[in-house]
């Protein structure tokens, strides 16, 4: 039984002497375990061969729905036909090299930020510069690039824009909130607690609603902010509350002695935070920060509900074509794979960092 086997010493994994022994030890160690294995194998037998049949053998790679229906398998023709729509939404077809380049730039930025060797103060500026370049690429209107207003942006670039701008821009707010929540001044502390708990208590979707219908009401007459900006603002305000709690965790992990040492050499509050505490605390919180980034990355899919065309929405649009509607599995599988690759790489990265950091801590 599963319950009983979990009590066995996980490190005592038996002796490896060939596949038969291995199977006896790991699959058939007891009658209950054998039963479990057989049930699992039976389930796999029911699921895997038909899936391969459908996805590979009987699949149609290029072609229209009629051809797919005749073949009876997966219709990857949907992807070959519509991948531009899924990836880039309704961005002008001839200009789609620009969002493509933006995605490449985003990936380069993420890879740079992921490398501990580059964790220097200038990294922040590099990222900001990268974001500016991305914005110019997407908007155009200068350097001979035709102007593309953001109501035509969509697909993967939009998902990346919302999540990366969301994390980067909410970060300073989060640090202020975290410091505020640990402030000596009761009023500051109270405001920060209320802010953080309020945002953390409500669903993101209600925040997006609020952003899309209430932000316009907040603005003075004549000022309008467009839909994308509203959603982006909502995501920033919302994410900041979660990030603040993560940063606070890091601040709490810094031993008292560090604060006292900084005070004793006469640093002011802001000097102490900037030079001593934050550099240490922020290093500690990088793994949960990556975790929050994954969450934000996945959560940006909710903008579908206020009518923006991120990756998931553009997939849905591609599937709304009546003749392709029956092939929703293919569409969602492709979108899921894209989300999966990004999130999985990031989560593996965060686990690697965690191991690295804890190893570093032990060495100290």
């Amino acid at each position: 039984m599963a319950e009983s086997s979990l009590l066995e010493n996980p490190s005592a994994n038996g002796w490896l002497r060939g596949p038969v022994d291995w199977a006896r030890k790991n699959l058939f160690s007891s009658p209950a375990n054998s039963l479990l294995t057989i049930v699992a194998l039976w389930g796999l037998w029911l699921a895997v061969p038909p899936a391969i049949q459908w996805g590979l053998i009987k699949a149609t790679w290029i072609g229209d729905p009629a051809a797919c229906r005749a073949a009876g398998g997966a219709c990857w023709g949907l992807v070959t036909e519509k991948y531009r729509l899924i990836l880039f939404g309704i961005y002008p077809y001839d200009e789609q090299w620009r969002p493509f380049l933006a995605v490449v730039l985003f990936i380069v930025m993420l890879a740079t930020a992921a490398n501990p060797r580059f964790w220097r103060p200038w990294l922040g500026w590099v990222l900001v510069a990268g974001l500016v370049v991305v914005s110019v690429l997407m908007w155009g209107g200068i350097l001979g690039l035709p102007l593309v207003t953001n109501d035509r942006w969509g697909g993967l670039p939009l998902t990346l824009i919302l999540s990366i701008f969301g994390i980067v821009l909410s970060f300073p707010l989060a640090v202020v909130l975290a410091l505020g929540r640990r402030s000596q001044l009761p009023a500051v502390r109270a405001w920060c607690v209320v802010y953080i708990e309020l945002w953390r208590g409500v669903p993101l979707i209600s925040v997006l609603f609020m952003a899309s219908i209430m932000f316009p009401l907040f603005m003075p007459e004549g000022v309008t902010i467009d839909k994308l900006l509203r959603a982006q603002l909502g995501i920033i305000l919302f994410t900041a509350a979660y990030l603040a709690e993560i940063v606070r965790g890091g601040l709490q992990a810094i031993p008292r002695g560090q604060y006292e040492a900084a005070d004793s050499i006469g640093l002011t509050y802001w000097q102490k935070m900037r030079l001593v505490i934050l550099p240490q605390a922020l290093r500690l919180v990088i793994p949960p920060l990556v975790g929050q980034f994954i969450t934000t990355f996945k959560d940006t899919s909710l903008v579908i509900i206020i009518g923006l065309y991120d990756l998931l929405s553009s997939t849905k649009v591609a599937l709304s074509d009546p003749q392709w509607r029956a092939f929703y599995v293919e569409g969602y599988v492709v979108a899921a794979l894209i989300y999966f690759v990004f999130s999985y790489v990031m989560s593996q990265y965060s686990q690697y960092l965690e191991r690295r950091l804890s190893a570093g801590a032990r060495r100290r």
């Binding site: 005592a12 038996g14 002796w15 490896l16």
Partner: protein, 248 residues
């Protein structure tokens, strides 16, 4: 005063961890009332050997008999052996979510189906014997290491075992606490408890043990009375090891 009755018997016992051969053809008999001390360098398989006796580790070949019961895959047999054999660990392993008293009564209540009041009476008796009955209502985290280890000994005794296994019971303790634990163990030995004890306390071995087993590289290298083994070791490996501990 050991009798002739053999209560633990290991015959040609072998154990592997993966491809690592941790126990090689171990042969060892322990008689009722006998006090056996197991010594040897780190990684020589001392813990592994005594943990095979109550099936915390599984041996792959050879026979282990405890009070006539073979230690095997048979769950019932293993549970019987474990009721007869108490064990004390280096890291105490008290249950942190239970009070000292509850730590002691847990097994009598659930394994021996003893009424709670009776189990508590017996527990208090053993707590008095290890001299910490005032701490019965505390949680393990509130006790010192020495006190915790004495609670752990009392916890095992509450099951009225006929054999006690000790795996380096004093290695995790500060020097001043070692004595209080050793005193309890000496007392137990004087009452005639059958004991198998992995320890580096050579003083304890000299005064208490009937037999010292010296292990190295998963093998029993030498086995003799303490005076013989310490005074006149036959094997080079033993001599080397003894000179090392004496130097420290």
């Amino acid at each position: 005063m050991p009798t002739d009755e053999i209560v633990i018997s290991l015959k040609d016992v072998n154990k592997w961890y993966g491809t690592f051969h941790a126990l090689r053809d171990i042969n060892l008999d322990v008689r009722r009332g006998e006090r056996v001390v197991v010594a040897g360098p780190s990684g020589s398989g001392k813990s592994t050997m005594i943990r095979c006796v109550n099936r915390l580790e599984e041996h792959q070949s050879g026979i282990i008999l405890v009070n006539g019961t073979e230690v095997s895959n048979d769950v019932k047999a293993v549970e019987k052996v474990r009721r007869d054999v108490g064990m004390v660990f280096q890291q105490f392993n008290l249950f942190p979510h239970l009070t000292v008293l509850e730590n002691l009564t847990l097994a009598p209540i659930w394994v021996k189906h003893m009424p709670k009041a009776e189990a508590a009476d017996i527990a208090m008796k053993y707590l008095e014997r290890v001299k910490i009955h005032e701490q019965a209502k505390k949680y393990p985290g509130q006790l010192s290491g020495g006190q915790q280890q004495r609670v752990a000994i009392a916890r095992s005794l509450c099951m009225r075992p006929s054999i006690m296994l000790f795996d380096e019971p004093t290695s995790a303790l500060d020097p001043e606490m070692i004595k209080e634990v050793l005193d309890v163990m000496v007392e137990l030995a004087e009452e005639g408890m059958t004991m198998v004890c992995v320890t580096h306390e050579m003083g304890f071995a000299r005064t208490v043990a009937d037999k010292v087993v010296f292990m190295a590289d998963g093998q029993v290298v030498e086995m003799n009375t303490p005076s013989e083994l310490f005074g006149n070791p036959k094997e080079e490996r033993t001599r080397q090891f003894l000179s090392q501990i004496i130097r420290h």
